[in-house]
């Protein structure tokens, strides 16, 4: 895959975080979705690190 390939493809965007960025995407008619993000593992960082290690 190359970056220049992206330039020949229709942009389809996922927004995770600030709502106004999602508003801007919708305003431009771009296929887009908003992730209702929450801190993983209830924000418990030790648990999060554990989960990371388990995934590998």
């Amino acid at each position: 895959m190359k970056v220049s390939d992206l330039f020949k493809t229709e942009l389809k965007v996922v927004n995770t975080g600030i709502e106004s960025f999602y508003d801007a995407l919708k305003d431009q008619g771009v296929p887009c979705a908003q992730v209702e993000w929450k801190p993983p593992a209830g924000g418990d960082e030790r648990l999060m690190a554990l989960l990371e290690r388990l995934k590998k």
């Binding site: 992206l6 330039f7 942009l11 389809k12 996922v14 887009c32 979705a33 992730v35 993000w37």
Partner: protein
């Protein structure tokens, strides 16, 4: 004094939304203090320390909770504040409307749009790497707005992205224009054949706007994040971006925007650029280089110059020798008129900026007229402000820097800090001119010029009551197609008696000439 706290389970709202609401409610009548935040450890401490939540609350709250805390003069007022918060949040949700796709994971979001190739990530820094790695695994190019991501994490992310042939623009990168789509804080500009790679957010915005104003357009505009050109990162994204623009059939001219980088990184960039015959414009703010038209390499001293050169090259025109620094008679007369209204005691320039790159550019430009300036991001370490909340002599501040924003939305979104600072600067009897940027476009405040204009009117009245005139100069970074509409914003500023120039470089030169009484600086 009445204290009220509400804890909502399993509610998540982004920090900007909550901060804007917090701003609004703490300004309500009869409210001593109020905030609505997610229940992270840091936020809990903040709210507890301010007396907005008590020990019982502290024990119950975790980061999955949304917490409203109020200290008000009466129960009625406290309840009104809570109602205001709930209404604001409801409005946000219903404003979403149909066609809204909301999911819990990036994987399902990607599926819902039929395979996403791009993601914008703006979660708190400590979670950013986790989200970004996942996005890369799903084959998405990334615009990473999050900051407080470590250098090590940045390097890891960029190596992973490079191995997959994906962009990892960031961290602390909020601006890109890809396939004609404005991502993050970006302006709506004409589509054209000029490609930009920028290690500078408002630098990218300003150049794209100048290009648009000069009758040309953007093919692709990529950000790299401010640390990309450090030796440790090696310019990974800059090089990937340049390569992509070299290969892109839709790009005829390549523009690079950055500050001076590590020499070995500059060498790599130069070698990469030499691989193409496409004309190249390099705006290395603070660098000193000579253009070489034979090799198609042009050096621009300012963002304005970069935009003007690129537009000319893209239209097949010769890059003119017109000196952009030359003043028209009208502008000359304007400057003289302003100077005539100042007293001898008024000597200082105060630049109050939302855009970091624009701040940097201004400090470079005004140096020839007024010498070195104090700042929170000074060109010279010795010119660092001891107290960033108070200016000293000639001062230009980047109010979007972490030291100012700590816990508040960026000044491009929330004008409050700048509005207060304008009024404060105007009370200083030694101030001659106040210089502002006004960045519009996606992501920005819905009416920054309105807020700034009102502040200037107030500041002006207060100074006039003391028999003082102060000069105000500004520029709008934006286009007619931006939601705020450039000409509307410019008119609002002008109606407040602010001198509005076409771009930041022009505004900086005019302001510097006013402060220096049009004399060049003697070092």
């Amino acid at each position: 004094m009445v204290r009220k706290s509400i804890i909502k389970e399993n509610a998540y709202y982004d920090s900007v939304t909550l901060m804007l609401i917090s701003s609004k409610i703490s300004g309500m009548d009869g409210v001593e203090n109020a905030a609505v935040m997610m229940g992270t450890d840091q936020n809990k401490d903040l709210m507890y320390g301010s007396g907005l939540i008590d020990d019982q609350d502290l024990a119950k709250i975790d980061s999955n909770h949304m917490v409203i805390g109020v200290l008000a003069q009466s129960e009625e007022i406290a309840s009104a504040v809570v109602d205001e918060v709930m209404t604001s949040l409801e409005q946000k949700k219903t404003a979403s409307g149909s066609g809204d796709i909301r999911t819990r994971t990036s994987k399902s979001a990607s599926e819902r749009v039929g395979g996403a190739n791009m993601t914008i990530i703006s979660v708190p820094g400590r979670y950013a790497k986790h989200e970004a790695m996942r996005a890369l695994d799903l084959g998405m190019n990334i615009l990473l707005f999050s900051d407080n991501v470590s250098l090590e994490e940045e390097i890891e992310l960029k190596e992973a992205a490079k191995s997959k042939g994906l962009l990892m623009m960031g961290p602390d990168c909020g601006t890109a224009i890809i396939n004609g789509v404005s991502l993050g804080f970006a302006n709506r500009v004409s589509r054209g054949r000029i490609g930009v790679v920028a290690a500078a957010g408002t630098g990218l915005q300003e150049v794209s706007v100048v290009i648009d104003a000069n009758g040309a357009g953007i093919s692709q505009a990529l950000g790299t994040g401010g640390r990309d050109l450090k030796a440790e990162v090696g310019g990974t994204m800059m090089l990937m971006g340049i390569e992509a623009l070299i290969e892109d059939d839709g790009t005829d001219v390549i523009v690079i925007v950055s500050k001076p980088a590590a020499p070995e990184v500059m060498d790599k960039i130069a070698s990469k650029l030499a691989e193409t015959d496409k004309p190249k414009v390099l705006c290395i703010l603070g660098g000193q280089m000579e253009s070489n038209p034979d090799s198609g390499m042009y050096y621009a001293k300012t963002l304005e110059e970069a935009g003007v050169m690129a537009a000319a090259l893209s239209k097949g025109e010769t890059v003119g020798l017109t000196d952009l620094e030359e003043l028209s008679e009208d502008v000359q007369a304007l400057i003289e008129a302003e100077v005539s209204k100042l007293s001898d005691e008024q000597r200082y320039l105060r630049g109050l900026y939302a855009g970091g790159t624009l701040t940097y550019e201004t400090m470079l430009i005004v140096k020839a007229f007024i010498g070195e300036t104090y700042s929170n991001i000074p060109l010279n370490k010795e010119m660092a402000l001891e107290d960033i909340m108070g200016s000293r002599e000639h001062t230009v501040v980047d109010m979007g820097d972490d030291d100012f924003t700590n816990g508040r939305p960026h000044p491009m979104i929330d004008t409050r800090l700048r509005v207060e600072r304008i009024v404060k600067e105007a009370s200083d009897t030694e101030v001659a001119v106040i210089l502002l940027d006004c960045v519009i476009g996606y992501g920005a405040n819905e009416d920054p010029a309105g807020d700034l204009a009102r502040a200037v009117v107030k500041a002006r009245q207060e100074a006039e009551a003391q028999g003082r005139y102060i000069s105000y100069v500004a520029s709008v970074c934006g286009t007619e197609s931006d939601i705020q509409v450039r000409s509307d914003q410019e008119q609002k500023l002008r109606d407040a008696g602010i001198i509005v120039m076409e771009n930041n470089a022009q505004a900086a030169r005019v302001a510097a000439r006013i402060a220096s009484r049009d004399q060049a600086h003697r070092a």
